[in-house]
C-alpha cells in the first residue's frame, strides 16, 4: 500500500493505493495522526484502494472521530467493492461519502 498526501491550505487529501489491511492499517493511522494538526477538511481518496479490512475501517473511524472535533472528513471515489464493505459494516451511515 502507498499513501499520497496533498495539503491545500487547511484541506488535506490522503490518497490510498493498494490494500488497506491489518499489516498496512497502522501505517495509515500514523500518517493521518501526524498530518491532521490544523486540518479542517480531510479527504480520503480511495479510488485506487483495492480492499479494506476491519483494521482499515478502524483507522477510518478513528480519523472520522478526530476530524468531527476539528472539522469534517469525507471519503471520495468509493469503488463498488469498497462501498459494499461500507454498507455491510454500517460505515456508510457514519461516514460522509462523496461519489
Amino acid at each position: 500500500m502507498t499513501i499520497n498526501k496533498t495539503l491545500n491550505g487547511t484541506e488535506l487529501i490522503v490518497a490510498i493505493v493498494g490494500r488497506l489491511d491489518t499489516t498496512t492499517a497502522p501505517q495509515l493511522d500514523e500518517e493521518i495522526n501526524q498530518s491532521i494538526m490544523g486540518v479542517e477538511k480531510l479527504v480520503i481518496d480511495v479510488a485506487e484502494m483495492e480492499y479494506i479490512s476491519s483494521a482499515g475501517l478502524r483507522v477510518l473511524l478513528s480519523a472520522h472521530k478526530k476530524m468531527t472535533k476539528q472539522g469534517s472528513m469525507v471519503i471520495r471515489n468509493v469503488s463498488e467493492i469498497v462501498m459494499d464493505i461500507f454498507d455491510v459494516t454500517g460505515f456508510s451511515d457514519i461516514l460522509t461519502i462523496e461519489a
Partner: protein, 579 residues
Amino acid sequence: MSYGQPKKRKFTKNLLVTILVSLLVTTVILEAGAALIGYREFTTSISEQYRDNVRTVTDTVTSLVDGDTIGFYLQTGIKDQRYETVERQLKKLTESTDCLVIYVCTVDPEGLNRTYIYDVVSEASGFTPYEIGYSEPVEESYVPAFKAAAAGEDVSDEIMHNNNQMAGDFATAIAPLKNSYGNTVAVVAAVKSLQNLRAATSNYMQQIFVFALMVATNIGFCWIAFMHQEIVKPIRTIVDETKRFTREWGELGAPLAMVIHSNDEMNTLAAAVDSMERQIRDDITQIVKVSKEKNRVKTELGVAAKIQRDALPKVTPEFPNDPRFDIYASMDPAKGVGGDFYDFFYVDDDHFAMVMADVSGKGIPGALFMMVSKMLLKNRCMYGGTPGEILADVNDQLSENNEAEMFVTTWLGILELSTGKVAAANAGHEYPVIGKAGGNYELLKDKHGFVLGGMEGMVYKSYEFSLEKGDTLFLYTDGVPEANDINEELYGTDRMLEALNRNPDKAPEELLKNLREEVRVFVGEAEQFDDLTMLALRYDGPEERNAAEVEAEAGTEAEAPAAESEAEGVTGSETGTEA
C-alpha cells in the same frame, strides 16, 4: 559448528616455514648484491695493483735495455757480453716480479709483426724463448696497442688479456723503448699470469659466501626464536582460549591480556578477544533471558487461546441435543488467539439465541475485546428485549471509554423454537445465508446497523424471518468470503454459496466441514490470514408434545422476550405453519 580436532601443528609449521623461506630469499638476494659490489670493488682494486705492478716491470725493462744497441743486435744477431748481461738481468727480473715472459722486440709501423731482440721466460712458465731475430705476427687483439707503442705513444694503461693452454690466463703490458735521440726503436713487453688474480678472486668469493651464510643462518635462527616467542606462542594461546570459550558455552576464563604481556599488537589482539568474549557472554545472557521471556509469553498465549476456545459453546451429544434443531459451529483462528467468535444459548426453553461476531483486531487485544463483547451480549440477551435493543445497549457499553477504538461486527438472532420465527439484528456483520429445505442457499440481504463499539447512541433495527422445517441458517465471518489464494484473489460469497449448494441437504456438521475443506483447497499455498468462523443451524420443526407440557410452558412464554419482538412489525411473512 565443528568441534573437530584442532590442526595446531599445521598452522604453526606453516607460519614458521613461510617466515623462514621469505627470510632465506631476502638473505640470498642481499648477499648476492653485497657479493657483487664486493667483487667489483675487489677486482678493480686488484686490477689496479696488478696494472701498477706490470707497469713497473716495463719501466724497469726500459731502463735496463739500451735503446741505442737495438739496431746493432737486430742487424748482426750477435749476442755479445753486454747482451748477455742484460739478458741475465731480465731473467732475474722475470723471476723476481713473477712474470711469465719479458721480451723486447721491434714492430713494423702497422703493428702487425714483431721481431724479437730479447725473449726471457720464467722457469715456471715452461716456455722456450725465441732466438734473437725471430719474427712472428702480433696477436690480432694486440695490434692497435703495438701499433701505438711502435709510434712512441704511452700505452701503459692498455693491459691485454689472452690465454693459451700452456700458461692459462695471462695479461700483457707493453711500453715503447727509445734511443738516446728520443726515437722509438722497439717495444718492451711483460707477460704476467692471471692465475693468482683468479685464485684471489675465487678465494674472496668463497669467504664472502661462507660469511654471508653464517650471518643468514644466525639471523634466521634468531628470527625463528623471536617469531615463536612473540607471535606463534601468543596466537596459539589466543586460539586455545577461543576454543575453550566455545566449548564451555561462553564461560569467561582468565583474561588473555593477563597472559600475553607484550606491549605490541599481540596484547591489543588479546585485549580485543577478551572484550569480544565479554560481549558474547553478555549477549548469551541476554538471549537466554529473552528466550525465557518469549517462552513464558508463548505459554501464556497458549493458555489464553484455550480460555478463549473454552468460552465458546461446544456442540456435544449432550448439548444442545434438542430434537427441534441441529446445530454445529467451528472457529479456526489464523493466529493462536483470534478476534472472531460465535455463541449460542437458550434464552428460555422456547428461545434459542445465536451470535456471530468479528472483532476488528487479532491477537491479545482482539481476544480481550472479544471476551468482553461475548459476555455483554449473552448477559444482555438474558434480560430480554428485541435484538435491536440488545445490540444498542451492548454498543453503548462497548463504546464507553473505548480508547483503543476497537469494534465488533455482530449478527444476533433469536429463534422461537415453537414457530421457527427468527428475530434478528445486524451490527455491521456479513449477510446471513438461508438454505430452504430442498432449495438453494441464498444471502439474506438484511438491514445493517453500525458496528458495535464504534460510536455511542447508535440505533439497530430488528427484523424477522421464518425458518420452515428443514431450513438451514448459515452464519460466518469475513474470514470465509475474504480468504485469499496466493494471487490475492478473494474466495467471495459466490463461491461460498456454490459450495454450500453442492451439498444442500447435509447436516450442519458436514456442511461446515465441507465448506472448510473447499476454502482450504482454494487458499492452497497462501497463509491463512483471517480467522475462519462458521455456524449452521437446521430447524427441524416444533417437537410433538402433549397438551399438558405446552400449557405449562405457555404460562412462562407470556413474558418471553421473543414475544415482544413481534410487536415491532417486522416482516414475519411466513408464520410457522407447523406450529
